[in-house]
Amino acid sequence: MRMKIGFAQPVSIIMLTLGTIALTTSIMFISTILAFIGLGLVFWGVILLYIRPEEYTKKILLEAALSPSLATLNQMIQEFSYKGDVTYLPPKYFTDPETTKIYISKDKDTSLPTPEQVQKYENQPVARTPRGMLLTPPGIQLSRLLEKSLGTTFIRTDLKNLQQNLPKLFIENLEIAENLEIRAEDDITKSTTIYAKITKPFYADTFKEAEEPSQLTASIGDPICSAIAIAITKATGKPVRITDTKSFEDGNTIEASYEIIEE
């Protein structure tokens, strides 16, 4: 259970006040001890105010907000009965390079649409075409948060940079998960597969109770896997597919593999 430091502000103010009094007294009476005490109190009072946490949301509220949207996505995909592959489209498919969409083809083994075909539906959150569907991925906001933390857009990075920086963003900056490992492997056909292992993601409990996702929803990915797919597609400039996701230890470890599609 998280301990909330709710009393930090009054304690800081008391420390600042006492510290200021001690410092003033030490100057009047030339007392080294009082000066040390005053300096310490003032410093720690300021530190307590400065390192106060940002607004935190109870985990149970986050889970309550997250579950319905993912369940709706799952039901929507099943209703439309799309059977094709789910592909994360790179920035070159869109007029606005910061846009990211996923393309779900109606039938299996259908080729990807052309950028001109995609751009007609670019601004719609969900767009159905005769051959497939364009959808805003669930990890889009998380990927924007990652870019904001990184200080640059993923378009300006490359795969190697991503392998170095994403774990730091996940673990240290945003504390999304306890650990993230990313490795890339090239196979004999020169296509690249990326493996990601996420340990203790923040939503591990949410997905313990959620219904089993369909094959298609698993290919879209949960918000974290989706955000990683968006990062990969932007960094490489190529379409990406989530080929496999596995959950272990009650959702505490997730392994996902991403295939970069050579066009």
Binding site: M3, I27, M28, S31, A35, F36, R52, Y56, E172
Partner: protein, 70 residues
């Protein structure tokens, strides 16, 4: 009436504070899995680095004083 602490007293105080801050910052780092403590860890780390740097500056001044003294 003057400030009762000398430059070297402040240097000593900076050293002690830097050690406390650096150790605290490292122990509550998310890399050790300690994610239940609700403080802004990045700011704490920045403060500890600034205080350490200030201490090192006082050390540099001390060394310069020793070198340049006749």
């Amino acid at each position: 009436m003057g400030f009762p602490l000398t430059f070297w007293d402040i240097s000593l105080w900076l050293a002690v504070t830097a050690i406390i801050l650096l150790i605290t910052s490292e122990l509550i780092s998310p890399y050790y899995g300690k994610t239940n403590i609700l403080i802004n860890k990045k700011r704490l780390r920045n403060v500890s680095l600034i205080v350490s740097t200030l201490f090192l500056i006082t050390v540099a001044i001390r060394i310069a004083t020793i070198i340049t003294s006749p």
